[in-house]
């Protein structure tokens, strides 16, 4: 029966109308969202770039508008938001990513655009000018470091290197690490034990930090340094029980257990090494060249800070990998690819790239920009010499495409504290890690197909 006009609105009818309103509202909201990267905005084009604050500064947005005639719309990087945007078919035009771990994951899921055709016709980003670190942004469907390019690093460091504070070494009566030859991991730990200072159960000075960029990249790199591989041939499984992986795992657990530096069971409230190192409360910091960006403006700190090569395992291979290679990639569903590529060229090869290179916050990812690296002061020259020598040992340590590094780290964080606290052995830990991480990777492999 047709409801009589003017009759009271029944609850059922009202809810039906509300439901209709809600659907219409959702459509309207979706419509709004679709406009985010429509590509056209007033006089120029608009490119949506999802980055962290500081990756592209507001003045650089203005600069891009003047130089390129393209408006950059910045969206704060958030993995949840990115996944929602990718799922809804409405991705940003360019996205921040950590080349070492993010690229295989996204490329294997076919959401990243192959950039080889763009590189081929670029007058700004020439292939022979690309530093080898950019190989982290290549993936052939199975192995990272080979195949088409999907992105590029904005700058990089060899993340197993470490800075040390000579004042802390002098106070502890410990010999400085050599600047051209690496120390062994065992020697590094021994130095850290001698540098750590404790009082009434509190650690007043950490001997050293060694946590890598993520636990997964740290352990993959250390295993490679020991002469093995954390992953099997098709990257579908990890194995912490191989002699090389076990050696890496045992060293890291020993580092945590002895509490010579920040770790999950002895966290640094600052969350990263910078402020602790600056305050003179950290003897050695496992941070690559990029930490110079923080050190150089503080003359006193710069005078006592030196960079040292990545440690090796006794008798092991000398490799010095980049665990980050943070840069940008272009989603396959980007609405405005040509304009996005122009922004890509500008960001990696023009003014922003030059500003980054001279800031000391990383090694430029274009060889032609290396002369811009800071080398005015003696301490900068010294650091640069160590870094240039270390570049000879650069290598790409491939990561699995079947899970995100966050997932491996999350499982490691959950399982490893028992070993760090001495409640389980390293062998038990290795077995538990294999079980949990391989289960996660198996699910990932099923989903990638």
């Amino acid at each position: 029966m047709r409801p009589q006009a003017g009759a009271p609105l029944s609850r059922r009818r009202f809810l039906a109308l509300s439901g209709g309103g809600a659907v219409a509202g959702a459509a309207a909201l979706s419509g709004c969202a679709l406009q985010v990267s429509s590509g056209v905005s007033g006089s120029g084009e608009t490119v949506t770039v999802m980055v962290n604050s500081g990756d592209i500064l507001p003045e650089q947005v203005q600069q891009a508008k003047q130089a390129l005639g393209i408006k950059i719309a910045l969206v704060k990087y958030d993995i949840t938001k990115l996944i929602a945007m990718l799922t809804s078919g409405n991705p940003p035009d360019l996205v921040r990513g950590v080349g070492a771990v993010d690229l295989p994951y996204f490329a294997a899921r076919d959401v990243a655009e192959e950039l080889d055709p763009y590189f081929a016709r670029s007058g700004v980003l020439k292939l022979d000018d690309l530093d080898p670190v950019n190989d982290l942004w290549r993936f052939d469907g199975r192995t990272q470091g080979k195949g088409p390019r999907y992105g590029m690093a904005k700058d990089f460091s060899q993340d197993s290197m470490f800075w040390y504070n000579t004042a802390a070494f002098d106070k502890g009566g410990v010999d400085y690490p050599p600047e051209t030859e690496p120390v062994t991991y065992e020697e590094w730990l021994e130095s850290a034990k001698r540098l750590v200072q404790r009082k009434s159960g509190q650690t007043t000075v950490f001997g050293g930090s060694f946590n890598g960029l993520t636990r997964s990249t740290l352990l993959a790199t250390m295993t490679a340094s020991a002469g093995g591989s954390l992953f099997n041939d098709d990257f579908s499984r990890v194995d912490f029980t191989t002699p090389e992986a076990r050696k890496a795992l045992a060293w890291y657990i020993d580092y945590c257990r002895t509490k010579v530096g920040p770790s999950q069971i002895q966290p640094d409230p600052n969350g990263w090494d910078g402020p602790t190192y600056q305050a003179g409360r950290l003897g050695m910091s496992n941070s690559g060249y990029w930490l110079g960006g923080m050190i150089y403006p503080d003359k006193k700190l710069a005078a006592v800070s030196r960079l040292a090569p990545a440690p090796i395992f006794a008798g092991g291979e000398r490799i010095s990998a980049c665990q980050g290679g943070t840069g940008l990639w272009m989603p396959r569903g980007a609405k405005n690819k040509d304009a996005a590529w122009r922004v890509f060229e500008w960001f990696f090869g023009e003014e922003p790239a030059k500003a980054r290179a001279s800031g000391g916050w990383g090694i430029p990812s274009l060889k032609s920009l290396r002369p811009l690296m800071p080398a005015q002061e003696d301490y900068q020259k010294r650091v640069l010499k160590v870094q240039e020598n270390e570049l000879k040992h650069f290598s790409v340590v491939s990561f699995t495409p079947y899970t995100r590094a966050d997932a491996i780290d999350a499982l490691f964080n959950q399982i490893a504290p028992a070993a760090m606290n001495g409640q389980i052995s390293v062998d038990t830990l290795a077995g538990r890690l294999n079980s949990a991480i391989n289960e996660q990777m198996k699910r990932g492999k099923e989903q990638v197909g």
């Binding site: 009759a7 959702a26 996944i83 509190q202 197909g449």
Partner: protein
């Protein structure tokens, strides 16, 4: 439409209104008469519709979506996800981490809810007394509850940092050994202290309840020689029981959903959720880890739906077991 047509007088039986004009009669014939009840209904729905539409869009729709997700292996972007039926729910039943996290969440609720209610009620009783600067005390005690949880979490993290925190600073100054407050087993006590941080909310609601207790009942009890404790136990608490029930239910729901353990964790990012020490790894931490660290949207959605059902059951049980002790101070004749 004329004033006559919309005037309530027109609907009044024998309303004594003047005879309508021909034009008015024709117009009235064309337009259906809107009764007072219909207009009331319309107004009601008009005013509630923003909330109802918001509720449907932002609560019902995500819940239905999460329910659908819970039957899949969806991870956000991978192309080959599939329906697994009740597979996620079966896995959940056999996942010891889930049960441990649920057990801890239950224990936390059982401990924290009474603690916060007792602390809040005690503060309310104190600031309800006629003391000088009462308003100032009320403000000061309520102030922590206004601080956003993220700010409170960070403040607690700095305060209890084992190496540079003020708590250990005082302890070592007094000659005691420093304690690793943010690690097991002590971190659970820090979490409970964060509960007391929010006791101001309970205090404010309890204070409102206390001020609603008729003063003559207290005076009568005093004349009868009842002690302060007896008066509190036999008059104040029964009259406050609906308020206490409300706080028990909302407190229970909030406590099982607390994110405070994450704010106290060494790393506050997505993978950092599993750096939460085991004793603080509550059910919502597990949900968060499954969603954002492991990308298991389907399994995490199943976890959330199970929590939703458990909260419904717990709420029902609280109502059932308190029905005999909650005293609703209403006039039984009022409905007649």
């Amino acid at each position: 439409m004329t004033v006559d047509q919309i005037s309530p007088v027109a609907d009044r039986p024998g309303g004594g209104r003047a005879a309508p004009s021909d034009a008015g009669r024709a117009s009235a014939a064309r337009r259906p008469r809107v009764s007072m009840t219909a207009r009331r209904h319309r107004a009601f729905y008009l005013f509630t519709s923003p909330w109802i539409i918001g509720f449907l869009l932002l609560t019902v729709a995500p819940m239905v979506y999460a329910l659908w997700l819970s039957f899949t292996t969806f991870d956000g972007i991978s192309p080959n996800w599939k329906y697994v039926g009740l597979g996620n729910y079966r896995e959940l039943l056999n996942d010891p981490v889930t049960w441990d996290a649920l057990g801890r969440a239950g224990l936390f609720a059982i401990t924290s809810v009474p603690l916060s209610i007792i602390a809040g009620l005690a503060l309310a009783v104190l600031v309800n007394r006629p003391v000088k600067a009462r308003g100032l005390f009320r403000t000061l005690l309520y102030l922590p509850a206004v601080v956003p949880p993220v700010g409170a979490g960070l403040a607690f993290k700095l305060l209890f940092d084992p190496n540079s925190g003020a708590t250990n600073g005082v302890m070592t100054f007094l000659g005691f050994e420093a304690i690793g407050w943010l690690a097991d087993p002590y971190v659970r006590y820090v979490l409970l202290m964060t509960v007391l941080w929010g006791a101001g909310n309970v205090m404010i609601i309890s204070l409102a309840g206390l001020q609603d207790v008729p003063r003559e009942l207290h005076e009568a009890a005093r004349i009868d020689g009842a002690s302060a404790w007896r008066t509190f136990r036999s008059i104040t608490v029964p009259l406050l029981s609906p308020v206490l029930l409300f706080q028990t239910v909302t407190g229970m729901i909030a406590s099982v959903q607390t994110i405070m353990p994450l704010l106290l964790a060494p790393l506050g990012d997505t993978s950092g959720v599993t750096t939460v020490p085991q004793s603080n790894y509550l059910y919502m931490m597990h949900v968060f880890a499954q969603y954002f660290a492991l990308g298991r949207y389907g399994y995490a959605s199943a976890l959330l739906w199970v929590l939703f059902v458990l909260i419904l059951i717990a709420t029902g049980l609280i109502f059932k077991f308190t029905s005999g002790v909650v005293f609703y101070n209403v006039d039984p004749e009022a409905k007649k």
